[in-house]
């Protein structure tokens, strides 16, 4: 038996041997972890099978009975409506606040920072209740001069319904949360991009809609998807002000028939569905706005003859001036 040093010494003199070894094919290292993970997966599968399928307490027939029930579907529709409206409104507020926070005007920056501070600190539940009971703070809403005359006034309770309170609370909340996501997207874009836009004289609007914005969307899509998917579930908090969306509907039903688990399962199945749709949307967005960042891998692109490119290049670079 040779020691490692002896072997190395011999190899240095024996070119033929190392060459033979160098040409051996490379195969994956035998891995216990790989087999262990497969065993684990099988185990988890059977645990799941026992827990979900062969477990009568889930009461699957009842789950499927309620899944497309009239009341549940109405609740689902309310959840979708509320999410869509508050997302649109919330993202709009978010863009405004992010823009204010990046403004050269110090007053706007401070206002935006305060807004984000308050929203971050306030639990959504508190925000919703405060808005719903706004009439206790200000009996009427209007536009006018503080401490002075008012130009236009309506009783608060006429404006703040369960629905408007829910929309206001949720979109103000998303506005504060998404503002920071938008801002992170803007500051992630290279400074040179802003300079290039200025150098060719693009207007601020074009700069943001055609160059900076699309590049930010790529960065902010994953965190923004988080925020928006959270909104689906946050809508369930509006049950405190009595707006009946999906989860509240499920709660109302099991309050009368005591089938708690099956009805919660119904809600979860719908939340899973909505989340899947949102995640599909996320992957579409990432693909669309990843263009120009990920290299294209279409077979057609790869097949392009590179020689043609080289000759064309040389025609203009032929004057060797170096």
């Amino acid at each position: 038996m040779k020691t490692p040093t002896e072997r190395t010494a011999q190899r240095l003199t024996d070119k033929g041997e190392i060459r033979a070894e160098a040409l051996l094919p490379i195969k994956p290292r035998p891995s216990i972890a790989k087999w262990a993970s497969i065993v684990l997966a099988v185990y988890v599968f059977f645990v799941g099978l026992e827990f979900f399928v062969f477990n009568e307490n889930w009461n699957w027939p009842l789950v499927f009975e309620y899944l497309f029930g009239q009341r549940i579907l109405q609740g689902l529709l309310n959840t979708i409506t509320l999410t869509l409206i508050t997302t649109l409104l919330g993202l709009f507020i978010g863009i405004l606040v992010a823009w204010a926070k990046l403004s050269p005007l110090a007053v706007l920056r401070k206002l935006a920072a305060m807004y984000i501070w308050v929203i971050r600190a306030t639990p959504l539940l508190v925000l919703l209740l405060m808005i719903f009971f706004l009439a206790a703070l200000v009996p009427s809403l209007g536009i006018g001069i503080p401490f002075g005359p008012s130009l236009f006034e309506v009783p608060t309770n006429e404006v703040i319904s369960r629905f408007t309170a829910a929309v206001l609370g949720l979109s103000l909340y998303l506005g504060g949360k998404s503002a920071e996501v938008f801002r992170s997207g803007i500051i992630a874009v290279d400074r040179g991009q802003f300079e290039a836009c200025r150098a060719v004289g693009l207007s601020p609007l074009t700069t943001y809609t055609r160059v900076i914005g699309p590049q930010s969307i790529r960065v902010i899509t994953p965190p923004m998807a988080n925020e928006i998917i959270t909104m689906f579930k946050n809508t369930s908090l509006v049950s405190v002000i009595g707006y009946t969306e999906l989860l509240t509907t499920a709660k109302l039903i099991y309050a009368t028939n005591f089938q708690t688990i099956p009805l919660l399962t119904v809600a979860v199945i719908w939340y899973l569905t909505l989340t899947s749709i949102a995640m599909y949307g996320q992957s579409l967005l990432e693909k669309r706005f990843g263009r120009g960042f990920d290299r294209r891998t279409d077979k057609e692109e790869q097949r392009e003859p590179t020689e043609k490119v080289e000759t064309r290049t040389s025609t203009i670079a032929d004057g060797d001036i170096r």
Binding site: V200, T206, Q215, R312, D318
Partner: protein
């Protein structure tokens, strides 16, 4: 050099970054159709000077005049105020800028990079902008790359697209900020060839560069900067080989090795 009225005059330009004085009162005049190379050690203020011309850096003192008109500010009685942002944007259109790091828009194809500003700023039709862009891309030898994204191009190709993008706005003066410094050595030649062909067609150009051989080849005038000041200016021959300035001689002996 001709004695025509200068197209661009920089007068007593000063610029500070915090307590660091980047430009200490720089005066330069540029004749129409001339090629001026600005050279000097790093930190000498040459890039900063170029960037003050099209307003990418705000100046603290002095002024830039384009065809006799003050750029960036306007006189009101005994003081100056910055022009409106719209006016500032219009004034920038007199200058085309080519950056060290290209700064192409990565989310847009080569064609869109070149046509975006002509369409949205100049109001050209999509069709005429594309036709003009195609000609420019041909001129830089990249018409076959028009539908590619910048990250599919080599550095030299990206810089040539950046030149086409600047040319598409038909600027009166082209500003090059170290156009070849970020390139692999074998890609420098193709970019310099394009710049040289522009010089031969009579474009007015200001080029900040480290390529001394190139500067000697194309420049009508070489401006040597050090520590925020112009320390030497004249024909390439004069400045590079017969400099009277100690600092300039040191610089050239280190960069003009061959």
């Amino acid at each position: 050099m001709n004695v025509a009225k200068p197209i661009l005059e920089l007068v007593a330009i000063t610029k500070q970054f915090g307590s660091f004085v980047a430009l200490k009162g720089v005066d330069i005049e540029i004749a129409p159709g001339s090629v001026t190379c600005i050279v000097g050690p790093s930190g000498s203020g040459k890039s900063t000077l170029l960037r003050t011309i099209n307003g990418l850096e705000e100046i603290d003192g002095g002024a830039v005049f384009f065809k006799g008109e003050m750029i960036g500010q306007t006189v009101r009685g005994q003081h100056r105020v910055p022009v409106s942002s719209k006016q500032a944007r219009l004034q920038k259109l007199n200058f085309g800028m080519v950056f060290q790091t290209f700064n192409l828009f990565p989310n847009r194809t080569v064609m869109e990079n070149v046509t975006l500003a002509p369409i949205t700023v100049r109001g050209h039709s999509r069709k005429s902008a594309r036709a003009a862009a195609l000609q420019l891309l041909e001129r830089v030898g990249l018409e076959h790359k028009k539908d590619r994204y910048p990250n599919e191009l080599s550095g030299g190709q990206q810089q040539r697209v950046a030149i086409a993008r600047a040319l598409a706005m038909e600027p009166e003066i082209l500003l090059f900020d170290e156009p070849t410094s970020a390139l692999d050595p074998e890609l420098v030649g193709e970019v310099l060839a394009v710049i040289k062909s522009l010089a031969e067609q009579g474009s007015t150009m200001l080029i900040v560069t480290h390529e001394m051989a190139f500067a000697q080849d194309v420049a009508d005038e070489v401006v040597m900067m050090a520590d925020g000041e112009v320390i030497e200016r004249g024909s390439p021959k004069q400045v590079v080989h017969n400099s009277s300035h100690q600092r300039a001689r040191e610089f050239f002996s280190s960069v003009v090795a061959s």
